[in-house]
Symmetry: C2
Subunit: 423 residues, 2 copies
Amino acid sequence: MIVPRTRESRPKFKPFELGLSAPWLHRPPRRLPRPVHFNPREQALVERIKRLKKEAGSHSPSAWTLAKLIPELRLKVDACFLSNPYATNLFLMHLHREVIRPKKLRALLELYPSQNRVIAAKLGRVLDQSADSIFVGNGAIEIIQAVLHRFTRDKLLVNLPTFSAYYEFARPDTRVVFNHLRKEENFRFDPQRYLELVRRERPDTVVLINPNNPDGGYIPYATMLELLDELREVPNVIVDESFIHFATEGPGFAYASVADEVSRFPNLMVLKSMSKDFGIAGIRAGYAVMAPDRVRSLLDNGYLWNSSGLAEYFFDLYSRPDFQERYERERVRFIRNSRRFFAALARLPGMHVYPTHANFALVELQNGLSAEDLVWRMLVRRGIYTRTCDDKRGLEPGKFVRIAARNRPENAYIIRSLRRMLG
Amino acid sequence: MIVPRTRESRPKFKPFELGLSAPWLHRPPRRLPRPVHFNPREQALVERIKRLKKEAGSHSPSAWTLAKLIPELRLKVDACFLSNPYATNLFLMHLHREVIRPKKLRALLELYPSQNRVIAAKLGRVLDQSADSIFVGNGAIEIIQAVLHRFTRDKLLVNLPTFSAYYEFARPDTRVVFNHLRKEENFRFDPQRYLELVRRERPDTVVLINPNNPDGGYIPYATMLELLDELREVPNVIVDESFIHFATEGPGFAYASVADEVSRFPNLMVLKSMSKDFGIAGIRAGYAVMAPDRVRSLLDNGYLWNSSGLAEYFFDLYSRPDFQERYERERVRFIRNSRRFFAALARLPGMHVYPTHANFALVELQNGLSAEDLVWRMLVRRGIYTRTCDDKRGLEPGKFVRIAARNRPENAYIIRSLRRMLG
């Protein structure tokens, strides 16, 4: 069941570290991995991937780009981008049954979709938010850009490591300061140290991704509430909850969003990508909950038709109770599988898996194998696309890989492949 | 055949008014139309539509929104939004054959699409432009917003009537000045008067939509070249060619874009929606050709993943010669039909049809029927969605309707319905 967002039913805060801590303990490697020797064909592939990666800047080239530009790769598992494949199945099932088979696809592709406010009104019903406090985006990334360009002024505070768009999309006249999450503390977010930094630096905008990307670290709901209270004086508080559906707290698989705190904290903006939990990155759908005057300010001179017909269909579906119920089952199934996967990852030799509350794990290699060695080998030899974190600020280059959980057979294939490579 | 965009093969400029002028001559109404009496059911429908229209601001609610929120309407023909339905058929045929039937839709919806620069590189090949001078947008409207927010400073000059986004999306600190196209001159663009106004007002940005929306007026290619030369001192010259595929010049059905003038005029930005000529407004696809430093400035802090998987598939298709060839046939077929349709419209009593070089016609009612009367009657009684221009600045309210050309049976149905209503 989805957690109703009313005050009474909020899950109680439990102390940090939920269940997942034990298996992550570091194990020393039993023996050194076999050195990497690519044959000339593999080496040529690696060179082509590296070129594409370089062109893609601080983000990875999409699996779609890779698969099309280098068809020889025979990509089997995309464990680079972060989504729930069961939810993709569910969405596709609905799309086929309700749109493609009854020949309604044409209307979705030919006609203009509804305007931002119309889609917000639909979303408002399921989010239990007033429509005028919802801003619909062409993916969360459009909202990140919109908010940083419109509301942020001279100083932006982001945690490191983080999703790089939060500092890359800042305007040239915005100074970015960083709160370094410490590896030796498992990248755990320390509220006290954070608030001290806020008092010292006086940023006009702070960003909290919860759970954080790329480490999966989670700030519990009660801590978030306390933080919001302490951050009252900061003009813009961005909370990115793109991975919140995977971060359960309290009994069962309930999750807790701070979106309905927007009415209490007019400085709060809660951003949400739909690409992760619903596995539909190709549709580009996201939204944010924020004070109505902020939504108005954004819509006053832009963002009129920024959703596609398919995104609108998705939002329609999302606001239906029958879909919600089916989605809830897939969400829980995915979380269960992901936890098993992370536990299995942590049992592999030669790597340290950091505690995660998201659908991916940050992995530190500890047996001399470099992140690139592992990632290229996995890609070229096993068709598994994972992500080196060499370009992630705040992480020592060469040592970190981010691996996303997929469905059960894919997870098993990733584990088998890693076991083989790590020896 | 598509016109190659090389300098040699450019169609020669011919004096303004190509072929379409004769049938537009105004004819006096033979008798007054029957007064509008809606029954209570119809009246209730009209009230609901008006409410939706009010919520949609200065744009019309999409046919999609109308059809879903008021299913009783039984919408048959969308002659409000502006597209080539034959091209939609063509696109859908390819989509079914290449994506849906071979079960490749999942990849398009699940995975992240390619980044802006990757899609620009594909487009560059078919546009014969260097990839770094192409900016890909989530519909042309995103590019309008991007350009007005990033490059426009204190003064913007737009023609009136126009596509309202060009003044609505201006930043609050930008002053908008207007060049009024004159009804008594058939809304013809007068270059000399325009240049005088530019010299007097000294705007930092000027916008030319060619052909213009909502009247379909066209500035011939040679005039455009002269204008660009005269506008060298204006920092930003936006030319919106979203309807250029319908504006033929010289022999055959060739059309002439100024996109390759960007290398000569670094102040020039040529915007292009794909929604109109390809009939895919629901996909949200557009691009602009502009100087590489402008593209870089936009991409430096935003617009990374602004195309959907379907938009990327469309751009892939668009860059294929086999698709281009098939599309060319549908473009010419549509233009032929549209011309017949506009000629038939012009023969109807009680309305004046302005000369158009686009896929729509601006119609002035002259027999006492108001624009709303006509539009609601068409919608409620015949399921035909057209557009009153009551909210269009620069047009006398209550008198103007914009009617888009559709396929042949739809055009015939529109003509039959109008004939019946106009008596």
